[in-house]
Structure formats: structure tokens, C-alpha cells
């Protein structure tokens, strides 16, 4: 094949010089009719095209068929000239993808091209929208092929449930792979709304109020610490109450910074100390109460 190229070159130049007249015949078209057929075969739309720049406006949905009839002639050629290429081309305006339909012999002479909707979909995928229709007729016997623009064809697909047209899908998945994907921003959960500080401070006071109320009420009905032991039993009593307070303070520390393993030994020591001093103190208190019979309540 490679060696053949110079040969072909020489041959072609020879032919180009020798057979220029033969290859120069112009192709002409006649009787070009464009029809849109319903599924039943009845004609929905019919136009006759006479020139290379027809501006038809056609509509092709999934039930219809576009049909173009034509007769081609070659100047100085055979009477029953049949062009090698007689195509109807539908080019999608958005993507530039094109579907091609070849002509076959019509029954009553001439050529006929039928463009079925499903064939279109097979060639360019789902691409609803406007297509430019063109008729291409060419042959090796002519150096003057014909390209006729027929106008635009609105291609409709079976509507979706809500009546709208399906979206155009990229025909080649590779094209979609090559485009950046839409960005995704993670929706972080919003922190819950908090009450204003004033409200919580107010309720803190409300929570402290019963303590204050209790202390005030107890003092008013005569509570006092006058019976706190003096002398030898002062120390155990003070140690007992200090122990209780220290256990409460330990709880606070546990909450603030200590862990359970640190807290338990300290609690054990404080507990034992408090229990021992508690026993001494309460024994003393019980003995004192027994020694002095209670005053009769009236």
C-alpha cells in the first residue's frame, strides 16, 4: 500500500489531466420533497424544496418519520444516474453530533431517505432540541457534489411524567469523565441554639434560693450551733464536720480534674477518718443527751 502511493499519485495526476472533462459533470437535484409522516402513514407536513437554502421548520417526535424524496442527475452522465452518496444529515446544534441517513431507491423512481426517530437516537443518543438538516449528494464521477440545507428540525423525545423533555445525556461517557464534577460541600450539623446567659444566671439563682430560704427559716425558728462541744470533744466534732466538707470538696475536684482512680484512694482515707471521728462525736452527743433528760415539751 505504501509503495503504491507514488503510483496512485502518478495515476491520479494522469486521470486528473486526461479525464478532467469526464469528472467535471455537475450533479443537479430535482423533485426534492420533504414529508413528515405519522405512524399511521398519513402525511403530517409536506414541503417541496427547490434550492440549496430552504428554511423549513419541521418537527420530529418519537412517533413520526422524516422522509425526503429526490431525483439526482449528472450532467453528461447516464440517464439512470444513482449517486454513491445521497445522505440526509441531521446535526445537533448544541453538541455538533450528527446522524446520517442514506437514500434507497424509491418505488416510483428516484431516491428516498427515511429518518426514523429511533435510528436518530441510536446514532447520537438522547439529545432533544434543534437539528440542522442537510442533504448531501456526491459521487466519484463528479467534482461538484451538492449540499442543500433543508432547514431545522425540532426533535422531541417521549415526554417524561411531568410533560417535560428528557435532558440531553452525553453520548460518550468519556466526555463526562473529562469534565470536572460538581463540587460537594458537606453540610455540618449546626450547633443547637442556646438560651441567653441571663436566663441561665437567673435560674442558677432560682436553684440556690431554697438553700438560702432554708438557712433563713432554720435560724428564725431557733436553729443554732450553741451545742457544739467544747473542750476534749471539740476536736473530734470539728474533724467530723471538716471530713464531711472535705468529701463534698473531693466530689467537686473529681468533677473538675481528678479521675476515678485518683479519687477512690483519697475518698477511702477521708471516709475512714470521717467515720472514726463521726463515731466518737456521735457517741459523745448521744451520751450527753442521755445524761440530761429532755425538757418536757408543753
Amino acid at each position: 500500500m505504501a509503495r503504491a502511493l507514488p503510483l496512485i499519485l502518478a495515476l491520479a495526476i494522469g486521470v486528473a489531466i486526461g479525464g478532467a472533462a469526464a469528472a467535471d459533470g455537475a450533479i443537479s437535484l430535482s423533485g426534492v420533497t420533504v414529508r413528515v409522516l405519522e405512524a399511521s402513514g398519513s402525511v403530517a407536513d409536506k414541503h417541496s424544496v427547490t434550492g440549496p437554502d430552504a428554511r423549513l421548520r419541521l418537527s420530529l417526535d418519537h412517533t413520526r418519520t422524516l422522509e425526503v424524496k429526490l431525483t439526482a442527475a449528472l450532467a453528461g452522465g447516464d440517464a439512470d444516474f444513482r449517486p454513491q452518496q445521497a445522505f440526509l444529515r441531521l446535526t445537533a446544534r448544541g453538541s455538533g453530533d450528527a446522524a446520517y441517513f442514506a437514500a434507497t431507491k424509491a418505488k416510483g423512481g428516484g431516491l428516498v431517505v427515511t429518518a426514523k426517530h429511533d435510528e436518530l437516537q441510536k446514532q447520537v443518543g438522547t439529545q432533544p432540541g434543534t437539528y440542522d438538516a442537510a442533504l448531501l449528494v456526491g459521487d466519484t464521477r463528479s467534482a461538484q457534489p451538492v449540499e442543500w440545507a433543508l432547514g431545522e428540525v425540532k426533535v422531541l423525545y417521549p415526554p417524561q411524567d411531568d410533560g417535560s423533555q428528557p435532558e440531553a445525556k452525553p453520548y460518550r461517557p468519556l466526555d463526562a469523565t473529562f469534565r470536572p464534577k460538581p463540587e460537594i460541600v458537606h453540610q455540618h450539623r449546626q450547633p443547637e441554639r442556646r438560651a441567653p446567659a441571663v436566663v441561665s444566671l437567673f435560674f442558677s439563682l432560682v436553684a440556690l434560693a431554697p438553700l438560702a430560704a432554708y438557712v433563713v427559716a432554720a435560724l428564725r425558728i431557733g436553729a443554732n450551733l450553741k451545742g457544739f462541744p467544747t473542750g476534749a470533744s471539740f476536736l473530734p466534732a470539728a474533724a467530723f464536720h471538716a471530713g464531711l466538707a472535705a468529701i463534698c470538696a473531693l466530689y467537686l475536684l473529681f468533677w473538675l480534674q481528678l479521675n476515678l482512680m485518683q479519687t477512690l484512694p483519697i475518698l477511702a482515707i477521708l471516709g475512714v477518718v470521717t467515720a472514726v471521728f463521726g463515731r466518737i462525736t456521735l457517741q459523745g452527743a448521744a451520751a450527753a443527751a442521755a445524761a440530761k433528760p429532755p425538757q418536757k415539751q408543753e
Binding site: A16, Q85, F87, A98, E183, I184, A207
Partner: protein, 433 residues
């Protein structure tokens, strides 16, 4: 003086050693053709350009009985060019081994024409490119070269080339002269794309018969297909052997009105195709993948073992573009990275600093689990970048939550009040007199 000359000699020796090392990395190339002697003369310019670019190798007959690509487990060649005709593959080479050659990461340039053997047709098919039926050729009655294709209109002037800076930087100034068979790429192909397509009036068919179907026409008709496999090995399939020939390189285009259009772009196009195929262009290299915590559990931690939810983190990677033997900073504004746990939770575009460093800051999701960074960059003509880095995301530890919030003061107050009350009640009960 003597000392300095010794130094100079040593320096020269070093330079020679470096040059030798460079030569040692020369790529081994094998060219297969039906008739090696004929190809050597008809395609001398193309072969010379390969040799000049540092490919060492020779032309062998495709049917040679001693042909082998592989010795035990070692491949004997890095790159392979096949100018395929009708002859069957010879020696130890078969389609399976050629596919294995590509699967091993080697590159293949396959040029066929309409009389292609069944084996090479099967090879193209395995690589995702379908060669049209035997006897068919690409025809364009509107854009043929009148000098070489006036009788059959099968020497077409193709100018519908791929718009890609990686494959054809700067595009082509003239049409490409093409005489050969039509190719097609399945619409579902995820690896192959067309470097050269038919014009809107071209079709594939017989030159001597009326065409009754239009299955392969227009832009869907591929003349030269490029394939980038998932392992980044590259394959070019051209439907024409002639387009690489000296005659085609030297040809001038003539349109159907016999007007001279000037020199065709075959040399530029074929060189660009071979450069792309042999990894001389459009190669991306990613390195230095890194990520760090900007603010969160451990601010400043580089490549931490795991993130905590809601950490602010930075992802960065270096990407270089290598073309014509030199690597330079890659510049693109569409490199994306994802944070994936089964589904992508975050997908964001990286910004680059002009020196090849791509980075972005992301707030990690408030969902915990085993996440990974995924950078999957695929663009037309460029080699693929696929990077993953697993980083689990953990929830807050129990002691990492916010404490002492004002809204909890009532609870603290009630506990303190209960403790104080307990002490007070005890003291009053025991010691009231």
C-alpha cells in the same frame, strides 16, 4: 597546570559517563511491517524522526518466523510500531501477546489499512477501536485531494482534529491527507478518543458502489484513534499506513476545484501522534501528597494518623507536566479532590501556586469512619492521576467536649446547694441548743 588538566580530564570523563547513562536509558523500539525494506524507503522520514528522538531499534518483517517480543519474562522492547498489512503475525507473537505487551505498560502505534489482516483487526478491537469492513475506505466527495484522489475521492483532506493541548499543542495549520480505512470507537468506550475525525461530509464505504446505509459517517467516523488505558499505557490506531509515508509528508493539498492549498500537515500530525503515544507529551506526574491539620485536635500535625470530626485540614500535592523531555509545573484550575467514605462527602477544587503545588483547605465532615482522600484526575490527552490516602475520622473523646457552658450553671448551682444544704442540716440538727 598539570593538576588542572587532570581535573579537566576527570570532569570530561564524568560528563561522558552521564551521557552514556543517558544513552543507556534509550527506549527500545521495534517496527513491524509487511515488507521492511519497502517501509524503510517509503517511510524513511517518520522512522528517522523516531531515531532522532532517541529510539533505538530496527524494522522487522511482521511475518518473520524468528520474531519475538519477549524472552522468558523480559520484554525486549519498550515501544512498538506496526505498519500492518494483510500478512499474519509470525514467530512467537500473537494478538494475545500484543495485548499483554500493552497491559505491561508499553506503548503501541498501530497503523492499518483496508486490507488489514484479521489478527490486527482483532487487536484493534481488543484495544477498543473497531476497524471498518474490509474493502471499505474513507470517502469524502466534498473534501478530497484532487491530486491523489480525483478518481475515487478516497484521499481525503481531514481537518477535524482533537482540540487538546496535550496531544496537538497549537493545533494544525493545514489539513491532513488521509487515504485509508475508517475506524469507529464504541460510544461507551472509556479509554479511546479520536485524534482525527471525518469531516461532516465524509463517510466510510466502497468507492465503486452507491451507499445504502450511513452507519459510519461524519464526526463519528474516526480516522486516527488514541487510547489511554487504565494503566496509562498508550495506543494509537490509525486507519492509514500511507499518512506516515514520505510521499504524504511531502504532499501538497489540492481541493476539488484544483486549487493548491499548500503543504499538508501530515508530518506535524504524525509526529504529534507518535510523541503522544510514546509518552513524550501529556504526561502528568504527581508527587509529595501531603495533608495536615490546620486547626482542630492537633494543629500543625502533618499526615496525622486520624482526624477528629470538624478539623480544618489542608490537602496538597505536587503535579508536574512532562512534555518533550522536560517537566514543568502543571497549571490547571480543574483538579479536584474528594473525601470519600463509600460516597464522596466533600469534593473541592484545588488551587495551584504556579509552581506545581496544588492545595486546598477542607473542614472534615462531622461523620466519623474510615475516610480516604481520592484524587482522580482524568482529562482528554493527559495521563491519569489516581491517588488515594486513607485517613480515618474519629469523634470527640469524652473529655474533648466543651465544658462549663453558661447554660449549665443552674445544674451546678443545684448540686452545690444540695451539698451546702446537707452540711447545714447536719450541723443544725446535731448542735442546736
Amino acid at each position: 597546570m598539570a593538576r588542572s588538566s587532570v581535573l579537566l580530564a576527570a570532569a570530561l570523563l564524568c560528563a561522558a559517563a552521564v551521557a552514556a547513562a543517558g544513552a543507556g536509558q534509550q527506549q527500545r523500539l521495534l517496527v513491524l511491517a509487511d515488507d521492511p525494506a519497502a517501509i524503510k524507503t517509503s517511510h524513511s522520514k517518520f522512522l528517522a524522526s523516531l531515531k532522532q528522538r532517541g529510539y533505538r531499534g530496527n524494522v522487522k518483517a511482521i511475518g518473520s518466523k524468528t520474531l519475538q517480543l519477549k524472552e522468558w519474562d523480559d520484554w525486549l522492547y519498550d515501544k512498538l510500531v506496526i505498519f500492518g498489512g494483510s500478512k499474519a503475525l509470525g514467530g512467537a507473537v500473537d494478538v494475545e501477546q500484543l495485548v499483554e505487551f500493552v497491559d505491561a505498560g508499553h506503548d503501541l502505534l498501530l497503523a492499518v489499512d483496508s486490507g488489514v489482516s484479521e489478527e490486527l483487526r482483532a487487536l484493534a478491537d481488543q484495544l477498543g477501536v473497531d476497524v471498518d469492513a474490509s474493502g471499505h475506505s474513507v470517502i469524502d466527495h466534498f473534501n478530497y485531494d484532487a491530486a491523489t484522489g480525483a478518481t475515487d475521492h478516497a484521499a481525503v483532506l481531514a481537518s477535524n482534529y482533537v482540540q487538546s493541548e496535550a496531544v496537538l499543542p497549537g493545533g494544525l495549520k493545514a489539513p491532513v491527507l488521509y487515504r485509508g480505512v475508517g475506524l469507529s470507537i464504541a460510544p461507551g468506550s472509556e479509554t479511546a478518543f479520536a485524534a482525527l475525525r471525518g469531516s461532516p461530509t465524509a463517510y466510510s464505504g466502497r468507492t465503486d458502489a452507491a451507499q445504502t446505509d450511513a452507519k459510519l459517517a461524519g464526526p463519528a467516523l474516526t480516522l486516527v484513534a488514541l487510547v489511554q488505558l487504565r494503566n496509562n499505557a498508550r495506543v494509537a490506531v490509525a486507519g492509514s499506513v500511507d499518512m506516515f509515508s514520505d510521499a504524504a509528508f511531502a504532499a501538497e493539498a489540492t481541493d476539488r476545484q484544483n486549487k493548491n492549498l499548500g503543504a499538508v500537515a501530515n508530518e506535524a500530525f504524525c509526529t504529534a501522534v507518535s510523541k503522544w503515544t510514546f509518552q513524550e507529551r501529556g504526561v502528568l506526574r504527581a508527587s509529595n501528597l501531603s495533608h495536615r491539620v490546620v486547626s482542630g485536635a492537633h494543629p500543625g500535625a502533618v499526615k496525622p494518623e486520624r482526624y477528629r470530626i470538624n478539623d480544618e485540614v489542608e490537602f496538597s500535592v505536587d503535579i508536574q507536566e512532562c512534555a518533550d523531555g522536560a517537566c514543568k509545573a502543571f497549571k490547571a484550575s480543574d483538579v479536584q479532590v474528594e473525601l470519600v467514605m463509600l460516597d464522596p462527602y466533600v469534593r473541592t477544587t484545588l488551587t495551584h501556586d504556579g509552581a506545581g503545588r496544588f492545595s486546598t483547605q477542607v473542614k472534615v465532615p462531622d461523620t466519623y469512619g474510615v475516610f480516604k482522600w481520592v484524587l482522580d484526575y482524568r482529562r482528554l490527552g493527559y495521563s491519569y492521576i489516581e491517588l488515594t490516602e486513607t485517613v480515618p475520622i474519629r469523634p470527640f473523646k469524652h473529655n474533648e467536649y466543651e465544658r462549663f457552658i453558661v447554660q449549665a450553671y443552674p445544674y451546678y448551682a443545684s448540686i452545690a446547694s444540695m451539698m451546702a444544704g446537707f452540711l447545714a442540716v447536719g450541723a443544725f440538727f446535731l448542735w442546736t441548743k
